[in-house]
């Protein structure tokens, strides 16, 4: 089945993605998935009224596909799916769904962990947090960079 990556301009239902992903499995014993949600408060504790993920048509989809392919190849899992929102996102809404399937659980857990660490730093988005006092554009956090460095891949620069 391979690696699937999709950019979603409108809200999606992670439970439907998971059900569809599981239904497509043939013989795998393990499916691991992650859902990222838009938090209602920013890093500074201030209320966030919305999140805007700017994306570059063509480049953003390619960056998602490269990350999904990377997980498939590195961990030898049988399938990977990434669904990532772009555009305007409300607090509480799903931003990303990332899943991996394999014969046994270890590879699927590691692939899902890797997918999220890479998506947090290498996916071609520009994120803006909107609050009551205005908006600010976000850079990757130190935690995200450290997590990305765990996997020792060369950074695409």
């Amino acid at each position: 089945m391979g690696a699937e990556a999709r950019l979603a301009a409108a809200p999606f239902r992670p439970e439907d993605e998971l059900a569809d992903f599981i239904a497509g499995r043939g013989g795998d014993g393990a499916v691991v998935s992650f859902v990222g949600l838009a938090r209602p408060a920013g890093a500074d504790g201030e209320a966030v009224t919305g999140l805007f993920l700017d994306s570059y048509p063509g480049m953003t989809e390619s960056s998602l596909a490269a990350i999904a392919d990377g997980a498939l190849t590195r961990f030898g899992v049988s399938a990977v799916r990434v669904v990532h929102r772009c555009g305007q996102i409300a607090p509480g809404e799903p931003i990303v769904f990332a899943a991996a399937a394999s014969a046994h659980r270890r590879a699927a857990f590691e692939a899902a962990d890797y997918l999220m660490d890479r998506l947090k730093t290498d996916a071609a988005f520009w994120k803006r947090e909107d609050g009551v006092d205005g908006s600010r554009w976000i850079e990757p956090a130190a935690d995200d960079r450290a997590a990305r460095a765990r996997w020792s891949d060369p950074c695409p620069e």
Binding site: D54, S55, H84, V96, F125, W126, R128, I138, P140
Partner: protein, 81 residues
Amino acid sequence: MKILFFGRLADSAGREVELDLPAEGCTVAELRRRLAGALPQAAGELTRPSIRACIDLEVAPETARVMPGQEVAFLPPLSGG
């Protein structure tokens, strides 16, 4: 030709701008200077070294040549997803 801007850069430069390029093209560095001249409100942001150019969806160095008809974008550092 169309030049595209993303992220915080689009706040000051807009999403896209039309610019005439000579038939022989120009370097990314020259294009950056011309854009800063054409969009004074975005000049400060555009000339930061952290802003990178992309030609036909690939990051390009300042010395790369831009030809009319290519897709060019200027990008701030990625936020990630």
